[in-house]
Amino acid sequence: MKNKTKHRSLVGDILLVHIVYAVIVYLAAAACLWLTTSWIIDNNLEKWAVRWTQELNKLGTPLYDGEAKNDRFIHIEDYIANFPDIAYVTYYSLDGTPIFSEGRADVDTASLPPRLSSKQMAQLGNTTSVMKPQIIKHDVDNSPYVKTYTPIWIESIPDDGLLNFNLADATNDDVSLAGFVELGLDFTPYEKQFIKNLLAGSALIMFIFMIIFIISKTIIKHAIRPLSELSKPLKNLAEGNTDIYVPPSKHREINSISQALNTTISALRERDATLLRLANHDSLTGLYNRNFFTEKLEQLAATNSTSALLFIDLDHFKYINDTLGHEAGDRMLVQAARWLKHHLRERDTLCRFGGDEFTILIEETTQEKTLQLASNMVSMMNKHLVFIENNQKFQVSCSIGVTMIDSDLYTPDEFLSQADLACHEAKRGGRNRHYFYEKLKNETGKMEEDIGWSRRIETALKHNQFVLEYQPIVNVHTGNSDIYEVLLRLPSEGDKLIPPSAFLPAAQRFGLMVDVDHWVIEHALKALASHRKSNPAIKFAINLSGHAFEDVNLVKIVQENIERYEIPPESLIFEVTEQVAVQHIAEANLLIKKLITLGCEFALDDFGSGFSSFNYLKHLPIHYIKIDGNFIENMTNDKTDQAMVQSMIQVAKTVGKFTIAEYVLDEDTMTLLKRLGIDYAQGHYLGRPQQQLA
C-alpha cells in the first residue's frame, strides 16, 4: 500500500517558527509602544493641562472683577488659539453658571454637554490646592474631550501685619474662591495620528517580513540542501549497500553528520565482513567451514570444468585428543590446518569439514595432478609434520579420499560421499595413504546403497514410517522396570524392522541425523505422555546422535514437546555415547547443562570404551553411566572385564552416578552384577525391545 502521508517541509517549519517568533515580537513591541506612547501622551498632556490651566486661570481671573474687559477675552482667545489641543475653555461663577466660554472654531460651546453638578462644585470649592486641575473626566457623557476643572482662587495678605509679613512664613494667606474654569482637551488628533503611524509602521514591517521571509526561505533551502543530499547514500545504506561514500560538506553541522555516516558505513562494512568471515570460516583454524565448502562445491559442480575433491582425515587424532586433552587436540588441528594451507595453491579451497576432517577443492586440475598432489601431501605430512606437546613428539599423518568432479551425474552431496568413502577406504587400508574413488569399483554398490538409505530415511521422516521400540531398564534393587530405552527402527518389507546401525551412518553422511533426532524426540515424548496415564512413574531414555551438539534448536524442541505433552522433565533421560561426547566435549557439556536445567536427566552410553573414560566423569554433569556392553556380555568368564566393571561401578558410586549395565544376557551375569553393586540392568535376559511396554 502506497504511503500517501504528506510530509511537511523542514524549510516550512523553520520559516513558520521564525514567522511566529517575529509576529510575537512585533505584537509585544507594538503593545509596549502603544502603552508607552499612551502613557507619554497622557502624562505630557496632563502636565500641559496644568500649565494651560494656570495660564487660563490668570487670564480669566479679571472676569470675576465685575467689569467687562474685552482685552481679557482677546487674551484668552489668543492663548487657546496657540494650542489646538484645547477644544474650549469655560469659566463658571461660584454657583456654576457659565460666565464666559471660548473654544476652537470647530467646537460649538453652546451645545456642550451638561457641566458640573452641585456636588462636584462643592467638592472643588473645598479643595485647598490652587493650581492643579482637580477633576479630570474621561469620556463622561460620551464627550470626545478630556475635561479638567480647576477652582479660581484669589489670595491676599491678611489686613493686619501688612508691614511685617515674612515670605518664608508658611502661614497661608487669606484665600477666596472666585469661580471655576473648565478646560476641554481634545486628544483625539494624537490618538488618530498614533494609530495612523502604527498602521503605516505595521505595513512597513509586514513588507520587511515578506522580504525577509523570501530571503530566509532561499537561504534555508540552500543551507539544508547538503542535508537533503544525504538521503541518497542513506537509502543505499538501508538497502544493504555499504559500498558508498558520503562526501564532506562545507557546513560544519552537516559535515559532522557526513563524517558520522562514513564512520557508520565503515563499521557496518567491517561488521559485514566479520559476519561473513564468521559464517564462512572455522573459528578454530580460520579455514573455510562446512557451509562455505558446500556452497563452493555446488558452484564447482555446476560448471563444466574439471576439479577434484580431497577428503582428509588425520590419523590417530582421537588418540591425541584422548591422551593429551582437547586443547592439545585443537592445537594439533591448527598446526595441521596451517600445514595444509601452506602446501596448497591460493586458488584452492581448504576447509575444516568437522572434527579432524578437512576437505580440499582443487579447481581446474586433472586426475593425474590430483593424485600426485594427494600422494605428496600424504608422504610430506608424514615426513615433516610433527606435533610437539609436553616434550613429546607425535608424527602426524593423514588419510585422503579423492574424487574427481567431472561429471554431472552426481550431486555435490554425492561427490562428498565419494570422497568420504574413499577416505574410509584409505583408513581401512591402514591409514597414511590416499585412495581414488574411481578405483573403488567394488564399492560402487555401497555408495548406491547409501544413497538408497538416505532416500528411505527422508521418506520415513516425511511419512512418519519410523517405529519406536522400548527396552526395559530394570532397577536391580527393586526389580521394577520404570525406565525404558527408546530404540529407533525402520520398517522394511515383510514387516521386518531394520536396526539403526544399518541406516544411521548413511543418515549421518547425508546430513539427516538432526531430523532423525527431532523425529525420535517428538514421537517418544508423545508415546511417553500416553503411557504415563497408566504408569506415572515411567521414564524414557532417548538416544541422541553426535549432531545433537551442533543442533541449536534441540533444547527448544525438547522444551516445546515437554510443554506440548505435559510431561514432567525428570521423566526424560537423554543418552549420548561416550565417544561422541568426548569428540564434542565442550558442546556436550553445554547441551547436557541446558537439558538438566530443563529438569531432564542424562546418561553417558558405552562408558569405558574410551581411553580416559573416568576422566570425563568429573567434567560431565551426567546422572547415569551406561557401561559398555562389551564389558558385560562376557564378564562371567572374563576376570578382566569383571574387574573393569567393578572398578567402573566403584568410581561411579564415588562421584554419585547411577550405573546401568547393558547386554545382560543371562542370570549369572545378573547375579554377578548385583553382587558388584550395579544399579540398573538392561538386556535380552531382562526384556527385549518391543513396540509395546511390558
Binding site: 472683577d65 495678605i157 489686613d159 493686619d160 501688612l162 508691614l163 511685617n164 515670605l167
Partner: protein
C-alpha cells in the same frame, strides 16, 4: 551694569530745571498762605531717622518743636488743622487687633506718650477678648478716647458711636468705611517724601518708578506723584484687582521703569505673588522699594519702615485735638513724617550701586552688616 549711570538728555535737563523752579515758587506761595491762616500745628521736624527716635517726644500740640525747618518741604503735605479750645484729658483704651510684635511696640509707644501727656491708658487685646466684650468694657469704664491698632480693632471701635477713635496701621480703611466724624486715622505709609529722597540719594539716575495699587488708592497716588516729581521721579501707576493681575501687570511694567514701589496693598498682594515679584526685580536689575523690612532678605533694594514714635505722636496729637462734641477735626488720615530707611547691601552690590556716606542728608542703615557697606561705600 550701568543702568543708573547715564546722563540726561539736554531737553530733559531743561525741563527738569523749569519744573524745579515752578515747584519752588509753589512752595513759597503756599508757605506764605499758611502763615496767614489760623494757628496750625507746625510741620513735623525734618529729622530723618533710622532708629527709634529718642524719648521723650514732646507733644506737638502742647510744645511745638521750635527748631526751624532745616530743609524746605518740597511738596506741601496736608497738615491737620487743630483748634485748641480746652485741654483734653487723655483716658485712652488702646485696642490691639492681633498678637503682632509691632502692634505691641506701637501700643507701648502710644501709651508712653499718653502718660507723658498726663493721661492714662489701658491696652485691650481683641484677639483675646473679642469685640463685644471690649466694647462693653470701654463703655463700662467710660474711656474718653480709643486708639485702634489694626483693621479688626478699628472695625470693632467703629461700634463706639460717640467716643473719639483714632486708628493706625490700616491701609484700606476706605473699603470698610472706617472714617467718620469720630473716627479718624494715621497713615500706614512712612513719609513718602523721605522715601523718595532716600531713593534718589541711593539711585541718582532714578527717573521712573512704577507702582501698582488696588481700587480707591488713586488720591494717594496723585499726592505721591506730586511728591515724587519734587525729587525728579516720575511715578507710573497701574491699578489691578487681585494678586494674579498684580503679577501679570508687574511683569508688564518692569521693562518701563527704573524702580518699583511696592505699596502694602494686601488686596492685590499675596505671598505667592511676592515670591515671584522680588526675585523677578532682582533678575531684571530693577530696584524694589518696599515698606516691609523683611523683604530685604528676599532681595528688595530699599525698605522704608515706619517709626513708632512718629505714629504715636500723630495718634496722640489727634486725640488731644478732639473737639468737645467728640469729633476729631482735620483730615481723614494724617500722614507720617518719618521713615526708617534701610538699604540691602547685597542687592546694591549686585546692581553696582554706590551707597552714600553716613554724612549725607539721610541716615541710611545698611543691611545686613556694616562690613559689607564699607566695601560698598567708595
Amino acid at each position: 551694569m550701568q543702568k543708573y549711570q547715564y546722563n540726561l538728555p539736554a531737553s530733559s535737563a531743561l525741563c527738569l530745571t523749569v519744573f524745579k523752579a515752578l515747584l519752588l515758587f509753589m512752595v513759597i506761595t503756599l508757605g506764605g498762605c499758611s502763615m496767614l491762616g489760623k494757628p496750625v500745628e507746625p510741620p513735623a521736624p525734618e529729622v530723618i531717622t533710622i532708629k527709634v527716635p529718642p524719648a521723650p517726644v514732646e507733644p506737638a500740640v502742647v510744645e511745638p518743636e521750635p527748631e526751624p525747618v532745616t530743609k524746605p518741604v518740597p511738596l506741601p503735605i496736608p497738615v491737620p488743622e487743630i483748634v485748641i479750645e480746652k485741654p483734653v484729658s487723655l483716658d485712652v483704651a488702646i485696642i490691639i487687633s492681633r498678637d503682632i510684635e509691632n502692634y505691641h511696640h506701637l501700643s507701648n509707644e502710644i501709651g508712653r506718650l499718653i502718660t507723658l501727656k498726663g493721661g492714662t491708658f489701658e491696652p485691650l487685646y481683641l484677639y483675646q477678648q473679642g469685640a463685644a466684650e471690649i466694647i462693653q468694657q470701654i463703655k463700662h469704664e467710660q474711656r474718653q478716647q480709643v486708639v485702634a491698632i489694626g483693621l479688626e480693632a478699628a472695625k470693632a471701635a467703629k461700634m463706639l458711636q460717640q467716643i473719639p477713635v483714632v486708628f493706625c496701621q490700616i491701609y484700606n480703611y476706605q473699603d470698610y468705611n472706617l472714617v467718620t466724624e469720630h473716627l479718624k486715622g494715621v497713615s500706614l505709609i512712612p513719609s513718602v517724601d523721605q522715601q523718595f529722597k532716600a531713593w534718589k540719594e541711593i539711585v541718582p539716575e532714578l527717573k521712573q518708578v512704577g507702582v501698582i495699587v488696588g481700587d480707591g488708592k488713586q488720591p494717594i497716588i496723585e499726592q505721591a506723584t506730586q511728591s515724587a516729581a519734587a525729587h525728579g521721579i516720575a511715578l507710573i501707576s497701574r491699578a489691578v484687582k487681585n494678586d494674579k493681575e498684580m503679577w501679570e501687570e508687574f511683569r508688564r511694567l518692569i521693562p518701563q521703569v527704573d524702580g518699583f514701589w511696592l505699596l502694602p496693598d494686601n488686596r492685590i498682594l499675596s505671598k505667592r505673588t511676592l515670591r515671584n515679584i522680588v526675585p523677578y526685580s532682582v533678575k531684571h536689575t530693577t530696584p524694589l522699594f518696599t515698606v516691609n523690612g523683611l523683604l530685604l532678605q528676599d532681595g528688595a533694594m530699599i525698605s522704608a519702615a515706619q517709626v513708632d514714635s512718629d505714629i504715636a505722636e500723630k495718634v496722640v496729637t489727634r486725640l488731644l485735638a478732639t473737639a468737645p462734641d467728640n469729633t476729631i477735626p482735620g483730615a481723614d488720615i494724617v500722614p507720617l513724617e518719618l521713615a526708617h530707611i534701610i538699604i540691602n547691601t547685597h542687592t546694591a552690590k549686585r546692581f553696582n550701586l554706590l551707597i552714600p556716606n553716613d554724612n549725607t542728608e539721610i541716615n541710611i542703615e545698611r543691611w545686613p552688616s556694616s562690613e559689607d557697606s564699607a566695601t560698598l561705600t567708595q
